[in-house]
Amino acid sequence: MERRVVISGMGIYSSLGKNLAEVKESLYLGRSGIVFSPDRKEFGYRSALTGFVEKPDLAKVLSRRQRISMGEESEYAYVATREALQNAKIEEALFDEQVIGLVYGNDSVSQAVMESIDIVRQKKDTMLVGSGAIFKSMNSSVTMNLSTIYRVRGINMTISAACASGSHAIGLAYLFIKQGLQDCVICGGAQETNKYAMASFDGLGVFSDREDQPTRASRPFDQNRNGLVPGGGAATLVLEEYESAVRRGAPILAEVLSYGFSSNGDHISTPNVEGPIQAMEMALQQAGLAPGDIEYINAHATSTPMGDANEARALTQLFGSAPYISSTKSMTGHECWMAGTSEVVYSLLMAQHGFIAPNINLEEVDETAKNLSLVKNTINQNFNVFLSNSFGFGGTNSALIVKKL
């Protein structure tokens, strides 16, 4: 019998709020999480805009030994995962009773690397970086920390796939369950928000320089967009095999219907049209759906001139004007390694509460997107089936189709 993969819990910690309730409110109101950071300007950023995410205080929650190995991205991931597990009604004891896996998207640990190397440069002694530095300085930091805290005994790995990391993490967790290799996998994406993380990205000159209007800077599909704004935080989903979730009495929020992927085989940073189409077609085919069955698309659109235009062309070619489309990056900025998971959480929150969050700052629709049903203002609309796109440097593409149950 075909194994179905369901979402039994989710958690979020982002510039839109510190939990599901706060984030749902921000999405409905079209509230931006973008601020101007004087510290970044001083540091040398061309554009000092960023999604603002507060550092979680975990002093009373985790032991010193647990905290000392955690960088910013792991702290965010812990908070999001704690909420997802509560949401899924998973107590810590379940990790002893059942083999649970962990697959998380993350693609940088800049702050930890910078800080430890600075100490070595100054002190000329590697031991003085302390015992936590190595565990904070590896891309797999999030999974090595979460797997230790929760005593994970199943699959345990980090997925690094640029700005599609969080989406591929869901896709791979889905495949592990679909293939019968795991019954329950925690998955997600995390993104550090410190000034070291995005300096070289800013250096490409692809960030919006509307520093006088932070909340209006990220404007996907708008004719006057002039670049992205970085954001961050973490988002977590609990994926489970349907029968296993039912036996456990777990909440069943949604079903992951398919995972489409592709690689552009093209430029390292400039996206194309064909690669994303290939990923979306694969997702549709695997789900057994026609383009007209998709009710909402959470676009990857980051507010860059070329990226949005090419995604708009791909969406127009595949879907025409049928589905509602918005890019929540208009509010969050580009949450990079985390975005592929956070945008599934955002979309599922919308589906649960019967609305479609707006693509804010969309004043003059770009010529390439004029035939799409872009949502400028919040729409009260029930829907079940949505597609979430994530594309990354190197031309890595991921498209997930999810159905609210």
Binding site: R64, R65, M127, L128, S131
Partner: protein, 83 residues
């Protein structure tokens, strides 16, 4: 630096770094058990001793350190050596 100053400084940073109550630190008590140290924690002990006293210890320096008193002695001897 007097032995009392070494003890005061050491106890202060041990309490802060390892998040323990001051009562657990007794001169004759076992350092490893009282502070619940694992092998990684000795690296952090090296870091905080360097930052508080300016002396660089190595893992092998802890071979004969069993009690808090032993730790004060070790720090005292290293400080004496550089003085």
């Amino acid at each position: 630096m007097s032995r009392d100053e070494i003890i005061d400084t050491t106890n202060t940073f041990l309490i802060e770094e390892f998040e323990v109550e001051s009562e657990v630190i007794q001169p004759e008590a076992n350092l490893k058990e009282s502070l619940d140290l694992d092998s990684l924690d000795y690296v952090d002990l090296v870091v905080i001793i360097e930052s508080n006293f300016g002396i660089k210890l190595e893992s092998k320096d802890f071979t004969n350190v069993h009690t808090f008193d032993d730790l004060y002695d070790l720090i005292g001897s290293k400080l004496h050596a550089i003085a």
